[in-house]
Structures are given as C-alpha cells and as structure tokens.
C-alpha cells in the first residue's frame, strides 16, 4: 500500500498565448508520487508551478501529455485544493466553509456534521464556527482553508502557497499544525512554495523547477525523521547543505531568466 503510485504525470506540456506571443508555461513534466508522500514544488515566481497545480486540480487543461490520480476508494473526490490567501468564501460562515466540499457532494447530513466538527476542532476553530471570514485573521482564514480540504477527504491534497501571505510567526505555527494533521491522515500532498525553509520542513521530496519553459530541473530528498519541528530542522547541519544546494539552484535560475529576458 505504502509504495503504491498515487500520482503520475507524463510529458505534461502547457502552452498559452499572451498578447499573441507564445509562452511555454510547462514543458515535458514527468514525475510520479507515491501514496502518502509529501512533495513540495519549489521554484522562482513565474516558473509555472501554479499552472501545474491548477492542471492537477482540474481548473485548467494541459496542452499535451496526461496525468493520473489513482483512486483507492470510490465515492471520494480525487483531489482538493488549499488555495492562496483569498480562497475562503466571505458569505459562508467558518462552519459552512469547512463543510463546503461535503455539502457540494451531497453526502448524508450527519456525516457532514461529524466531519466538520472534527476538523474544526483539529484546527482550533470550534469557538469561531459561526463567524464570517471578515472577522478572522489571515492565519485563521488559512486554517479554515486547510480544514476544508481535509474534511472533504480527497485522495490527494493540492496546496498553492497557502502560507505565503502570513507573517513569520503565524507561518511557523501553521506549518507545524499542518504537519500534525497530515501525520494523522498520511494523505498524499503536493505543496507549492517559494520558501526553501518551508519546503525542507514539510517535504519528503522537493522538485526544483526552472522557468520559461517550466521544467523540473532536479529533485532533492529530505530524509529527516518525522515528526519534525522547525527548531530541529534549523539545527541540523545536513539540512544546511540541502538549503545551500537549493539556494544555488534558485540563484542560477533567477539569473538565467534575467539574462533571457534582457536579451
């Protein structure tokens, strides 16, 4: 079960036209992710990582190539996405937001109630269940977003820079909370980020992307024992090496794309 292939992406390519100019957003993306793996996709802005995630989320279509998410159960959604900052729906209460996926799938009422309650509790939002998002802080909104995705009980989770807009302290707290919920469910996760620290803390593997055309250049394994904590990751000398390796990759990438755009 553990080594089963969960996500397979073959020769995925995405081209779009911007002001009649052809942009190669993604080129020949190939990877496979095992069941229960936590994978971060890391790259400079504009490298197409969000496009890749949106294709996996069914919000965009690839130009060529294909991708598959293997379902282990019936009656469950293939994937659910945790969106960037503004993804919490303002006219629904915290509770209604968390139960959104379950309500859209029209599962039995008592099942909705039970799962919503469980995940509200897991992210510590039970006292705020009936509030509207305008009354929540940025960190609390992202907790809603995370609870909503987990409550929906999909085969895999897709996360699009969910903590990018948070301040440093909140980010640390939410990263560890995410890890502890994830440890309980062991769902397969693809997590987009541009923060190296975040990628190292969370992932089993990190895919490094380059821009224009967006391709996966390299892959880094992070074999720290779990459960992990930020302090422990920070103090591990091996991780400092990993950080440097990724840093150098990103540096060259950013410089190359600058040279390209100046040409």
């Amino acid at each position: 079960m553990q080594s089963q292939e969960k996500i397979q992406v073959n020769q995925l390519t995405k081209v779009f036209f911007k002001n009649k100019e052809r942009v190669m957003a993604l080129k020949d993306i190939n990877f496979s992710i095992k069941n229960g793996e936590f994978v971060c996709i890391l790259g400079p802005s504009g490298c197409g990582k969000t496009t890749l995630l949106r294709i996996l989320a069914g919000l965009e279509k690839s130009s060529s190539g294909d991708h598959r998410i293997h379902a282990s159960r019936t009656n469950h959604p293939l994937q659910s996405m945790v969106f960037q900052e503004q993804g919490v729906i303002p006219w629904m209460t915290v509770q209604e937001n968390v139960s959104l996926g379950l309500r859209m799938r029209h599962v039995p009422k008592n099942h909705i109630k039970e799962r919503t309650k469980t995940y509200l509790q897991k992210v510590g939002l039970t006292p705020y269940a009936d509030l509207y998002p305008k009354e929540l802080s940025g960190g609390m909104k992202q907790r809603v977003s995370i609870a909503r995705a987990f409550a929906n009980d999909p085969e895999i989770l897709l996360m699009d820079e969910p903590f990018a807009a948070l301040d440093e302290q909140n980010k640390f707290i939410l990263q560890e909370e995410l890890l502890s919920i994830w440890e309980e469910t062991k769902k397969t996760v693809i997590f987009i980020t541009h923060s190296i620290d975040e990628a190292i803390l969370l992932s089993d593997r990190i895919f490094l992307m380059s821009a224009q055309p967006g391709t996966i250049k390299d892959e880094v394994k992070v074999d720290l024992p779990r459960p992990r904590q930020m302090t422990q990751v920070r103090s591990d000398p091996k991780m400092a090496d990993v950080f440097l390796k990724i840093w150098n990759h990103l540096q060259t990438e950013v410089q190359e794309s600058r040279i390209k755009s100046e040409r």
Binding site: L59, M81, Q86, G87, W91, M92, M104, Y132, K134, R148
Partner: protein
C-alpha cells in the same frame, strides 16, 4: 522588602492613572456621539421652526408657504375624512406591484447575464439602448398599449425599476472574484449549487444597491405618472390641489412622499443587513 512594596504601590497608582486617562477619552467620545445624534435630529426641527416663524410673520408669502402647523392641521383633517387614506393606499399598491413586476425579471435576467457571457453579449446592447429613455417619456406608448387602467401605472413603475436592477445584478455576478468560482469548481459544485451558493449571494451586495436605486426611481415615477394620467394617488393629490390652489393640501402630498421615501429606504436597509450579514 518594604521598598519593593512601595514600588509595587507606585506601579498600581500609575496603572490606575492610565486607566483614568483612557476612561476620560472614552467618555469624551461618547459625548461627541451624543452631540452628533442631537444635531441629526435637530436639523429638521430647526428648519421647520424657521419656516413656521417666517410664514407666520409673512416674511415669506404664507399663501405659497403655509406654516407647518397649518399643513399638519390639514393633514389631520384630510386623514380623518378618509379620502387621504384611499389615495395613499392606491399609490402604495401601484408601487409595490410595479416594484415586484420590475425587480423579479430584472434579477433573473441579471443573474443569467452575469453567469453566461453569451446571454450577456446578446442582451447588453438592448439594455444600453433602452436604459437612457426616461420611462415617463414612454408613458404615452404605455397608455396606448395597456390602456388607462391600473395596469399601465404598474407597468410604468416596473419599467423604471427594471434597468438599474438588471444592470447592477449582472455587474454583481461578473465582479465576483474568480477565485470563488475556482473554489466551487474544485469542490465539485453542480450548476444549481453554483447558482444558489456562489452567484446569488456573491452578487447580493451590488444587487441590493441596484434595488435601492430602483426604489427611489419607483417613487419618482409613480408621482409623475399620477400627475399626468390618473385620478387617484399621492401624485394626483399634489397636482389637483395645486390646480385648485389648495396649497396646504398640496404640501400634505409632498410630506407623504418624503415620509414614504424615508420609510422604504429604512426597510430596504433592514432587509440588506438581513440578506448580507457577512459584509
């Protein structure tokens, strides 16, 4: 030990002082708010007082500007005779029926236009072309088509309410942040759920603004329509009394319009906070 305690006392004293200062600030703010409230209430009273004095002393011509006390006296007289009640009732029924007849199709079409770009592209030139024509200018046409009965007045109001509501509803839907549509799609919303849970509530704030506008226009239209082609209603009261040079009676009509305009906007504001609790 002793000195420590003294220092502790001083800290408590400092804290008390700080709390006192803030309390004083709070009290000042409350006083300011009360003054503002008094100003809001007193301005109409003040104006009526000046009007009364100027009219009683004949500085302004009391034939054209009868003193408010006289107008109130007339209002009471017209009210007790029962004739006024009838006119008010007729106007209110026309407004309500016309309002509903305009708002319901406008919301339906507006939502469809917002959700489907094909429908939007088909209807928006028609709406843009018809909107600038004042409904009152269409009154002769409406009278020819629908006759001089009640229905033609209702249609006139419906037509004038329709445009602001349809435009605002369509804009309300198209202005919904795209990310909410993505969320709905990703979480598997079917078209009905999307309509009820995303498009309708998301468009509600801008739509309600359109309805507020429509309400104001409805009042304007009914009075004008009743002045031109009716023998009942508040507009008729104003026009007939003007023609008969019964100026206090005419003012009664004006006061009624002001009152109902204010009442309607209060009602709609109440409805708005019920429908949009999340704003």
């Amino acid at each position: 030990m002793h000195r420590m305690k003294r220092r502790g006392d001083r800290a408590v004293e400092e804290l008390n002082k700080a709390v006192e200062v803030e309390k004083e600030g709070l009290r000042r703010r409350q006083r300011n708010n009360r003054i503002k409230q008094v100003l809001t209430i007193s301005s109409p009273i003040f104006m009526l007082l000046i009007w009364e004095v100027l009219s009683q002393t004949a500085i302004i011509d009391p034939r054209f500007f009868p003193p408010p006390t006289k107008i109130i006296e007339t209002l009471v007289g017209m009210g007790t005779s029962g004739e006024l009640f009838e006119h008010v009732q007729v106007s209110l029924i026309r407004i309500l029926a016309g309002f509903l007849l305009g708002v319901i199709p406008a919301i339906t079409l507006g939502l469809l236009m917002g959700m489907y770009s094909a429908i939007r592209h088909f209807f928006s030139p028609l709406i843009m072309a018809l909107m600038p024509i004042p409904t009152l200018a269409l009154l002769p046409l409406i009278l020819i088509i629908f006759g001089i009965g009640e229905f033609s007045k209702i249609v006139t109001i419906a037509a004038s309410v329709f445009f602001p509501v349809v435009i605002n509803t369509a804009a309300g839907v198209t202005n919904i942040d795209k990310i909410y549509a993505d969320v709905a799609k990703n979480y598997g919303a079917n078209p009905t759920d999307f309509f009820l849970k995303i498009a309708l509530p998301g468009a509600m704030p801008v739509m309600m603004e359109g309805i507020q506008m429509g309400q104001a226009i409805a009042l304007l239209t009914i009075v004008a329509a009743e002045m031109i082609g009716a023998n009942s209603g508040i507009g008729y009261v104003i026009w007939m009394n003007y023609k008969a040079f019964l100026i206090p009676e005419m003012f009664v009509g004006l006061i009624l319009i002001s009152f109902f305009g204010y009442l309607f906007s209060l009602l709609l504001r109440g409805l708005q906070s019920k429908l949009i609790p999340w704003k």
